[in-house]
């Protein structure tokens, strides 16, 4: 099985004089891997190979309870940490990033861009797009 997956040298090459050592090594490897498959074949069942568990063990509390970040600063004691805290809380509150440009404004400007592109002479970006299509 393993030998079919791996890219291997053609036999004609291996028969050449200077490939003698490589040939010996490959033969040894092949014999070793054959031994592994047969060694425990009677003990390892197919079920054991494909078994999966529904239980995930976790040694730490931090994955069980949703704790706060352990580094906190209040009332401007450490502005660097407060910036990080603000970013964290904005992420958790909305579930998405805060927008600098609202959806409506973006839609309007995109329409404007579309109009401009059609009238303008073909640039190198337009040509690339056409080729892809």
């Amino acid at each position: 099985m393993a030998s079919t997956k791996k890219p291997s040298l053609p036999k004609a090459v291996l028969d050449m004089k200077f490939m003698k050592k490589t040939k010996e090594r490959l033969e040894r490897e092949f014999e070793n891997s054959k031994g592994h498959d047969t060694l425990y074949a009677d003990v390892i069942t197919n079920e054991m190979k494909h078994a999966s568990s529904n239980y995930i063990s976790e040694a730490s509390f931090i994955f069980c309870t949703n704790l706060l970040e352990g580094r906190l600063s209040f009332k401007g004691m450490n502005p660097e940490i407060e910036r990080l805290m603000e970013r964290e809380s904005s992420h958790t509150n909305n579930g998405e990033m805060t927008k600098d440009v609202s959806d409506e404004v973006l839609a309007k400007t995109m329409v404007k861009f579309d109009k401009r592109k059609r009238h303008s002479s073909p640039s190198k970006y337009n040509i690339i797009k056409k080729k892809k299509q």
Binding site: I56, S60, E69, L72, F74, M77
Partner: protein
């Protein structure tokens, strides 16, 4: 003995509820629980807790820290040994912290860490048989909130208290945060580092945290109000 969620449990007890959930979907079993062939057994004394949809763990009182991967801990640098620092995080053996795992550190440009410094670091590797390994950067190579903690005051407490003050439902930090400026780092290893502008304020924060261990939410609020009023009374 068979137990339910919310019960006080002892090692050797088992819970069929976890097994029934586990038969249908994935279950996360946290500290204090162990899956054996036919049951999920309790291995620590405490209260069996559940968080929806399928997370179970035993909330036990503990002061001895057992390092776990992914947790943030406060450590004290004990030794510089070649290219690593040995850091005491309160576990069974000291943790190692490579001098390259700081933001912007290279082989030529070593971070400025002295013996005796207090460090807030994340545990990268924790296993039964090896010493834990710490890092002071995240996966993007940024230091974030990790690194050396300068000045301030460190004290120890139980591991439960750390989880209590860091849980989002705890009113302690909410009632303290508008009173006076302070900074806090809580390690999951039962050490808290605090820093405020004056000695009196630092002691007030420390006492508020230590006093909150066995109080209910309402009692914590009144305690914080008391501390704040005493503090303002003294200053004026």
């Amino acid at each position: 003995m068979k137990v339910k969620v919310g019960d006080v449990v002892l090692p050797g007890d088992y819970c069929d509820e976890i097994a029934s959930v586990g038969a249908k979907s994935k279950v996360l079993i946290g500290p204090g629980l162990k899956k054996e062939i036919d049951h999920v057994f309790v291995t620590k004394a405490g209260v069996l807790k559940k968080r929806n949809p399928s997370t179970f763990w035993v909330d036990s009182y503990q002061k001895r820290y057992i390092p776990c991967r992914g947790e943030n801990a406060i450590g004290i640098v004990h030794q510089k040994a070649g290219d690593i620092y040995r850091v005491d995080i309160g576990g069974s053996c000291t943790a190692s912290l490579s001098y390259l795992s700081f933001e912007g550190a290279t082989k030529k440009n070593r971070p400025e860490v002295q013996i005796g410094d207090v460090i807030y670091a994340k545990i990268l590797v924790a296993s039964k048989d090896m010493e834990p390994e710490l890092v002071c950067v995240d996966s993007h190579g940024k230091k974030g909130c990790l690194g050396v903690l300068s000045d301030g005051f460190v004290f120890k407490c139980s591991l439960n208290l750390i989880r209590k003050i860091l849980s989002p439902s705890c009113p302690l930090l909410d009632s303290l945060k508008n009173e006076w400026p302070f900074e806090l780092a809580a390690g999951m290893n039962g050490r808290i580092w605090i820093k405020a502008n004056t000695l009196r304020e630092t002691i007030a924060v420390g006492n508020a945290i230590l006093g909150a261990e066995y109080l209910s939410d309402d009692e914590i609020k009144t305690m914080c109000n008391n501390i704040a009023s005493i503090l303002t009374g003294h200053i004026s």
